[in-house]
């Protein structure tokens, strides 16, 4: 035990001496919470739309008013003619254009009115959002017109979004960042710390003392568990205070799952350091195996449901995917029962830990 403490003490000295790495490990996750929380806002506000009203009737003005009163769309300008639409797109004055044809008011009375919506498709996701907004506006106007005529709409869907009614992306992003931070500190930093010691020959030096390999590893790993837990708490608190990310479920349950995920990340880190011939290889491997999949394939940024089939299988094999389901469940929904995810995480932890311990034994002999 004293020997483990000796290694822990020494490892903390390393961490504290290497100010730059420490700053990166602590500040990067915080910066990511702030940046992702602010930037990854899926909503679009104050969209500029060019309006070409060829009808100039009360009915057409009503439509334009309905469109701009939603708050999401501001009519940028009224266009004098069709030839103005393309230059407007090219100069970026607006992202979409609404064309109300001549005779719209009259057509409306006969029930066969049409308007044209043109969208700048250069930015595909924005274009899709804009098109959706404009269609929604048209649908609303339609419904109002029917009501005016004393008719009920035959069919209508009312969408309510639960757990994150305003679709605030911070609530969605913060759990993902927790997974990323734990992977970064527990897997990446641990594998670097161990490989460095192997590469500089200090591991050989240490092993000539009566300390056992297991004690060395325990001592090296514990400070990173502490650092991971600390940064992870910071991320959660930042999410709560800055973006109001809720905590619907139990903090204790959350901590327990974080611990399980930490075990997985550590096992990965150990496995990488045992298998890597050099520090450089270990860093690259850790980035490829832990950070990138956690960012891209875990459902952190890109929804898994929209990925092609084989890739979805890969996603299911990632610990972070299951961890994220659990985190979001606890934080946003107050869920406390995750049989499938728990089973997956426990199995992964057991397999990785066995592999890590086995390959470490081989390497130290």
């Amino acid at each position: 035990m004293n020997r483990i403490l000796a290694v822990v003490r020494k490892e903390f000295l390393h961490i504290l001496r290497d100010r730059r790495s420490l700053a990166v490990a602590v500040l990067m996750p915080l910066a990511m919470v702030l940046i992702y929380g602010a930037v990854m806002d899926m909503e679009l506000r104050d969209l500029k739309v060019g309006v070409l009203d060829l009808d100039r009737s009360d009915r057409s003005r009503e439509l334009v008013r309905a469109m701009t009163s939603s708050g999401f769309i501001v009519a940028a300008e009224h266009l004098p003619g069709r030839e103005e639409i393309e230059p407007g797109f090219r100069q970026g004055r607006f992202l979409a254009a609404l064309v109300v044809p001549r005779g719209y008011g009259g057509d409306l009375a006969r029930g066969e009115a049409r308007v044209q919506v043109l969208v700048d498709g250069a930015d595909a996701s924005t274009a899709a959002t804009v098109a959706n907004y404009l269609q929604a506006v048209v649908a609303t106007v339609n419904r109002d017109l029917l009501r005016e005529a004393g008719l009920a709409a035959p069919f209508g869907a009312r969408t309510r979004i639960w757990f994150n009614p305003e679709l605030v992306s911070a609530r969605f992003v913060v759990p993902g960042l927790v997974a990323l931070v734990l992977m970064m500190i527990c897997a990446l930093l641990t594998s670097i710390a161990i490989t460095r010691e192997k590469e500089t020959g200090t591991l050989e030096q240490i092993l000539t003392t009566p300390v056992t390999p297991a004690q060395v590893i325990a001592g090296k790993v514990l400070p990173y568990v502490a650092l991971g837990a600390l940064v992870c708490t910071m991320v959660l608190l930042a999410g709560k205070w800055v973006f109001g990310v809720p905590m619907a479920g139990s903090w204790w349950l959350l901590a327990a799952y974080c611990l399980l995920f930490i075990v997985i990340a550590l096992a990965l880190g150990l496995l990488i350091s045992a298998r890597s011939p050099s520090l450089r290889v270990a860093m690259m491997a850790a980035l490829m195996v832990t950070m990138l999949p956690t960012m891209i394939l875990s459902g952190f940024v890109f929804p898994i449901a929209s990925m092609p089939g084989p890739l979805q299988v890969v996603c299911r094999l990632l610990p972070a995917t299951h961890f994220l389901v659990v985190l979001r469940g606890i934080m946003l929904k107050g869920q406390s029962w995750f049989p499938l995810q728990t089973a997956a995480l426990v199995v992964m932890a057991a397999v990785l830990l066995t592999l890590a311990v086995r390959s470490f034994r081989l390497r130290l002999e």
């Binding site: 004293n2 020997r3 403490l5 000796a6 290694v7 003490r9 020494k10 000295l13 390393h14 001496r17 290497d18 500089t200 020959g201 200090t202 050989e204 030096q205 240490i206 092993l207 000539t208 003392t209 009566p210 300390v211 056992t212 002999e365």
Partner: protein
């Protein structure tokens, strides 16, 4: 030899040690004994098997065959018991450059389980002994090469071992620091420690009490430095002077059977067997601007001669 070490039993005893890495044999039947209070030099070129031998003695590697005992304990079976009484300094500087001198010492003291009170007195003693006292708070990475080696040595001495195994401790260290380092080693031997020191430098062989010349995993000569030098089976002529390149060219142009020439910096050693051959060489080099003297062989001559000779005793392809 498995019983506890008596007073006259060697501190390190290696018998018919063998170790291969896959197909490549690193050590092939080595015998070695180091007594307490003596410095034994393990001398040989890179790849002779010195490091492998030392790692096995420290219990870091398992031997394929043979027995290794340190203070009566089997290194392969009881590595931890051996390590508690042994200090090992690997070839590369292996301390933490970002920790200070004192922090490095403290870490090794903790690993060896040195009690706090003893640690403090021991640390003061080592600081005094290695003259690192004024640099206690300096980071190890900012020490000079010689000071780093002294710190590494201090770390291996923190638990007061009885046996010290040093793998090329003076490689890459300046001559002044080397002399200082050997002074410290001599002092340690004087306190009764058994020291096994490997070195590629032949001039350091003379500083040891005993030497073992190692080549391709075997010992090719052993004994005190004088004994090993005296084991040189042939005669030696030393050639010196301004005409050395000319002399070398003449010797190369007309090789004499049974006569070998080795160049050592500013002189040649001509190895031969009798006076007739010596006269022949003298005639050949007449007027080349060199002087010829018969000299007593050194360890290096023995080493070069034995290395070139087919290994005696064991069958070699």
């Amino acid at each position: 030899m498995n019983g506890p070490a008596g007073n006259d039993a060697p501190a390190i005893l290696v018998e018919d040690l063998r170790k291969s890495y896959g197909e490549r044999a690193a050590v092939r039947g080595l015998d070695l004994a180091v007594a307490s209070g003596r410095i034994c030099g393990l001398i040989g070129p890179d790849g002779a098997g010195k490091t492998t031998t030392m790692r096995i003695i420290c219990g870091l590697l398992r031997p394929d065959a043979g027995a290794v005992h340190v203070l009566g304990r089997d290194s392969a079976r009881e590595p931890r018991a051996v390590r508690e009484r042994l200090g090992y300094m690997p070839q590369r500087f292996s301390l933490y450059p970002d920790l200070t001198v004192a922090e490095n010492l403290r870490f090794f003291a903790d690993l060896f389980g040195v009690p706090a009170a003893e640690r403090v007195t021991r640390e003061a003693e080592l600081m005094e002994f290695s003259r690192l006292g004024p640099f206690r708070r300096r980071r190890a990475g900012q020490l000079s090469g010689g000071m780093k080696q002294k710190l590494a040595l201090s770390c291996t001495l923190i638990h007061t071992p009885e046996v010290l195994v040093l793998d090329e401790p003076t490689t890459g260290v300046d001559p002044v620091s080397r002399r200082e380092f050997w002074r410290i080693l001599r002092e340690l031997a004087g306190r009764g420690l058994a020291l096994l020191v490997s070195t590629p430098y032949m001039d350091e062989a003379g500083l040891c009490d005993d030497v073992v010349l190692m080549h391709e995993g075997r010992s090719i000569a052993r004994g005190t430095p004088d004994e090993v030098a005296a084991a040189f089976p042939r005669r030696l002529l030393e050639v010196r002077g301004a005409g050395l390149p000319e002399a070398l060219a003449r010797l190369a142009a007309s090789p004499r059977p049974g006569v070998k020439v080795h160049r050592y910096g500013d002189r040649l050693h001509v190895v031969h067997d009798d006076a007739a051959q010596a006269d022949d060489v003298a005639r050949l080099l007449a007027g080349a601007g060199v002087e010829l003297h018969p000299v007593a062989p050194g360890i290096e001559d023995t080493f070069v001669e034995l290395m070139a000779a087919p290994a005696g005793g064991e069958a070699t392809p």
